[in-house]
């Protein structure tokens, strides 16, 4: 559980992408690696870049309303499971 402090110190951003894969970002890390899930790349012209909300280094915390517990596999499954619309919540 995040502490209040932790919550306070982070900036939370939510985006809604539509149009289906590829969404145009690269995700690195994961619980398997012992790292947080970080957006390491945003492809120019990709859907993420067009929404102009997300940035490299953002930590993914919520996909389609489901809070992530940090597993990459989970995140991948959730993302790949989104057909047309992808809702992401990040913090930085």
């Amino acid at each position: 559980m995040e502490t209040v402090e932790q919550l306070v110190s982070f900036l939370h951003i939510q985006v809604q992408l539509s149009g289906g894969a590829p969404w145009g970002f690269t995700l690195k890390g994961g619980l398997e690696h012992g790292e947080p899930l970080i957006i390491t790349k945003i492809e120019d012209g990709g859907k993420v870049a067009l929404c102009e909300k997300l940035k490299v280094g953002d930590e993914l915390i919520n996909i389609n309303g489901s809070a992530l517990y940090g597993s990459r596999q989970e995140a991948l499954i959730l993302i790949k499971g989104s057909y047309r619309i992808l809702k992401l919540a990040v913090r930085r």
């Binding site: 894969a21 590829p22 969404w23 970002f25 690269t26 995700l27 690195k28 890390g29 994961g30 398997e32 690696h33 390491t40 790349k41 492809e43 990459r72 596999q73 991948l76 993302i79 790949k80």
Partner: protein
């Protein structure tokens, strides 16, 4: 009856003066006589009795008044008796003319008494004329018994009457108005008697109605007790209407004379008593005076010495007591005496006055008790008194002053003594003996302060002495103790002065010595410090742990050491000099008896430190020599080792290098088939393994070298590390190269790549392997890709890099390169694809085994997978099963979405 008026002129003159008539004869008696013979009878009786009352004193008497007086002798006798005077001698003859002459003598005598006799002749008397004789007798009675009666300026008959009235006044039942009827009841007579002699008659028992009894009582009492013969007859008086006045007068006159005489006697007695009383009083007064005077004089006599006593008392208290006593004297004791003196004077004056008034001689007090004596004594007393009071006051003042002075003296002495208390001890202290220079200086300053304090007290001592002097001059009673104390103080003062000076001298002396010592201490410090430093340095140097790696180095150390040894004598001299200073200090201290604290204020270095250090240094020198020599030996040994090692290394090094090159050539050269390469490599491997013993030997030598701490070896450029590294590299290279070849074989076999393809790959790889180390760095790789037609963007290239170099080593191995080149699909970077590949390798299982990995993949990748893959969790898993699925997804670390 007419009152008789007779003017009596009392004359002092005794001589008969014819002009002065004392008494005139009563003229009326003749007529009366003729008329009343009763009276004549009465008169005769009475007169006879009266004459006899006088004549009995002469021892004679008459019986018949006419007859017995005829010859005049008894008449003359009678006159003599009643007058108390001598008549001229009677004639003794018996003749008529003798008798007449005698009678004349008697009559002359009567005349000489101032009685004018009228019609009485001597012849008639001689002839016995009764009437004339009676008349003559009456004249005599009148003259000698009545005429002299004087009662309050009333004389003779009136006087007698007055007297009777006076005397009988108290008796109510008596009223005397005349000499006849008033006397009839006899009470008057009784009253008269009772008045004077109440013891003779009980008057209360008398009754008016018993005149005869009364009269007889009176007559008897008078005769018996008053010596008044009966001259009257009670019956005659009572029976006669008017008794004979003359007879009564005659009888009453006897009473008068009896009582008056008594009275006179009484008066005389009173007078005498009075006079005597006065005398007695006077005498008493005199006695009193004398007594008082004596007392007073005695008191004065006692008091004067007391007032004259001028012995001074010691204390003011006593003097004040004296003053008090004096005051008491003045207020209590003297006033009564003053009073006494006053009284004395008064008494004296009174006495003198009384004496003078009573016509007595003046009082002459006895010797020494005269008024003048008393006055003188008193004056003396007062004089002494005054002087005494003055003296007392003076003395008291003096004592007061003395007390005050004495107190002042005591106070000053006490204060002074309290100041001087302990000072002698302080001054006698030898505290400077064991003090440092600073302390000495402090003591000196303290002493200076004390000296000025002492000077300040000088005048106090002088004051004390002055007071003592004054006390002496004023004759203080305890001057002895004062002087003693003053002397004590003065002596002590002198002593203090002496001690002060002594101390000053001592302090100065010690200060100088200490300054000298201090200088020496400083000198010592100045020399000892650098010397100590030098010694410390020397010690350091001598004990210096040297690490030399060459003989030259040790040689230079030896040289240095020898140079050092050369300086020792100089150093020793310096040491001696420094110690010499210390010895000097000791000498001075000993000579002058100064206790050194042993502490040098300028340095912590003691001579012992210097000495011991010097000894240490000296001790170290040979040790150093030894050490150096040992080192020389060691260095030589090392040199030997070096050479030995070098010899070895110089062979081994190049050999390895050669091998390396050869091996790399083998892999790089495209000559021959992979198998051939393999064989050749194996050969090399064998060589290398065989060669290991050399390496070991070298290691042995190296170890020796290392143990001998040989870190450099100029005899060879090859260090053990070089060799080791080279050897390991060699080993690795050979292994890797073998591996590579194996992999290539594997890959070739797996992917069906022909030798030629492989050779092509190899050529490309070699071409871009600029460094010729069997690896490409990313730039090389990129260039290579470009050359092959892959125009990659940054992103793509990066992706590819990650694929090619998953371990992020930064280089692309040939193997990886081949892998990449022979990748079936371009998009092998999805986890799913990898998973699919794994699945193939795993023969479609959901897990892959270690063996399969090892079999299918090149060894290092296989190991990589093995180490990274998690154990497969699934019911269908066998032991050693690994989960490639999760591995695959995690493999890239990235997922492109």
């Amino acid at each position: 009856m007419t009152a008789v008026e007779s003017h009596m002129t009392y004359s002092n003159s005794y001589t008969i003066n014819n002009e002065t008539v004392y008494m005139t004869q009563e003229d009326d008696w003749d007529r009366d006589l003729l008329l009343d013979p009763a009276w004549e009878k009465q008169q005769r009786k009475t007169f006879t009795a009266w004459c006899n009352s006088h004549l009995r004193k002469a021892g004679t008497a008459i019986e018949n008044i006419e007859e017995d007086f005829k010859n005049g002798l008894k008449l003359m006798l009678l006159l003599e008796v009643i007058s108390g005077e001598r008549l001229p001698k009677p004639d003794k003859g018996k003749m008529r003319f003798h008798k007449i002459a005698n009678v004349n003598k008697a009559l002359d005598f009567i005349c000489s008494k101032g009685v004018k006799l009228v019609s009485i002749g001597a012849e008639e008397i001689t002839d016995g004329n009764g009437k004339m004789t009676l008349g003559m007798i009456w004249t005599i009675i009148l003259r000698f018994a009545i005429q002299d009666i004087s009662v309050e300026e009333t004389s003779a008959k009136e006087g007698l009457l007055l007297w009777c009235q006076r005397k009988t006044a108290p008796y109510r039942n008596v009223n005397v108005q005349n000499f006849h009827i008033s006397w009839k009841d006899g009470l008057a007579l009784c009253a008269l008697i009772h008045r004077h002699r109440p013891d003779l008659i009980d008057y209360s028992k008398l009754r008016k109605d018993d005149p005869i009894g009364n009269l007889n009582t009176a007559f008897e009492v008078a005769e018996k007790f008053l010596d008044i013969p009966k001259m009257l007859d009670a019956e005659d008086i009572v029976n006669t209407p008017k008794p004979d006045e003359k007879a009564i007068m005659t009888y009453v006159s006897c009473f008068y004379h009896a009582f008056a005489g008594a009275e006179q006697a009484e008066t005389a007695a009173n007078r005498i008593c009075k006079v005597l009383a006065v005398n007695q009083e006077n005498e008493k007064l005199m006695e009193e005076y004398e007594k008082l005077a004596s007392e007073l004089l005695e008191w004065i006599r006692r008091t004067i010495p007391w007032l004259e006593n001028r012995t001074a008392e010691q204390t003011m208290r006593a003097m004040q007591q004296k003053l008090e006593d004096f005051r008491d004297y003045r207020r209590i004791h003297k006033p009564p005496r003053v009073q006494e003196k006053c009284q004395l004077e008064i008494n004296f004056n009174t006495l003198q006055t009384k004496l003078r008034l009573s016509n007595r001689p003046a009082f002459m007090p006895s010797e020494g008790k005269m008024v003048s004596d008393i006055a003188n004594a008193w004056k003396g007393l007062e004089g002494v008194e005054k002087g005494y009071e003055e003296w007392l006051l003076t003395e008291i003042r003096r004592l007061e002053r003395l007390d005050h002075l004495a107190e002042k003296f005591k106070q000053k002495c006490s204060m002074h003594e309290s100041w001087t208390g302990g000072k002698e001890e302080l001054l006698s202290q030898k505290d400077y003996e064991s003090a440092s220079l600073m302390e000495i200086r402090a003591l000196m300053r303290k002493h200076e302060a004390f000296e000025s304090d002492l000077a300040a007290h000088q005048d106090r001592v002088e004051q004390i002495a002055a007071i003592a002097q004054e006390l002496n001059e004023l004759d203080y009673h305890d001057a002895a103790s004062v002087n003693a104390r003053c002397q004590g103080i003065c002596d002590q003062w002198d002593n203090l002065g002496t001690l002060t000076q002594k101390r000053r001298d001592a302090l100065e002396r010690v200060e100088k010595l200490w300054e000298t010592i201090d200088q020496l201490y400083l000198e010592f410090a100045k020399r000892a410090a650098p010397f100590n430093n030098w010694m410390d340095g020397a010690m350091e140097d001598l004990q210096d742990m040297f690490i030399v790696h060459s003989i030259e180095e040790i040689q230079s150390l030896i040289t240095a050491h020898d140079q050092f040894k050369a300086t020792l004598p100089e150093a020793d001299k310096e040491r001696m000099a420094t110690m010499g200073i210390h010895n000097e200090i000791l000498k001075i201290a000993q000579t002058y008896g100064i206790k050194l604290s042993g502490i040098n204020p300028y340095t912590n270095l003691s001579p012992q430190d210097i000495s011991s250090k010097w000894d240490a240094v000296k001790h170290l020198v040979p040790l150093r020599d030894q050490m150096l020599q040992e080192e020389v030996a060691r260095q030589q040994a090392n040199e030997r080792l070096r050479r030995q090692f070098a010899a070895q290394a110089n062979i081994i090094g190049p050999w390895i290098q050669t091998k390396m090159e050869e091996i790399s050539h083998v892999s790089v050269d495209i000559a021959g088939s992979l198998e051939e390469q393999m064989n050749s490599l194996k050969q090399y491997e064998g060589n290398i393994i065989n060669y290991k013993s050399n390496i070991d030997k070298l290691e042995g030598d190296h170890q020796l070298s290392q143990e001998s701490l040989i870190f450099d070896n100029k005899h060879t450029n090859y260090t053990m590390e070089h060799v080791r590294v080279g050897w390991e590299q060699l080993l690795t290279t050979i292994a890797r190269t073998i591996n590579e070849v194996e992999n290539q074989i594997l890959t070739r076999d797996a992917k069906g790549i022909s030798q030629e393809q492989l050779n092509e790959f190899r050529a490309s790889f070699n071409h871009f392997d600029r460094k010729r180390n069997g690896m490409m760095d990313p730039d090389d790789f990129r260039a290579c890709l470009i050359s092959m037609g892959y125009d990659l963007g940054e992103v793509e290239f990066a992706r590819i890099m990650t694929l090619v170099d998953p371990n992020n080593t930064g280089v692309v191995t040939f193997q990886a390169f081949i892998d990449f080149m022979t990748r079936e699909t371009a998009e092998t970077d999805t986890a799913e694809q990898v998973m699919a590949s794994f699945k193939i390798l795993a023969s479609d299982k959901n897990y892959i085994t270690v063996d399969e990995l090892r079999r299918e993949l090149p060894p290092d990748q296989a190991e990589y997978c093995i180490s990274r893959m998690t154990r497969y969790i699934g019911g269908d898993g066998a032991t050693g099963a690994l989960d490639y699925i999760s591995f695959s997804s995690a493999l890239y670390g990235e997922s492109d979405l």
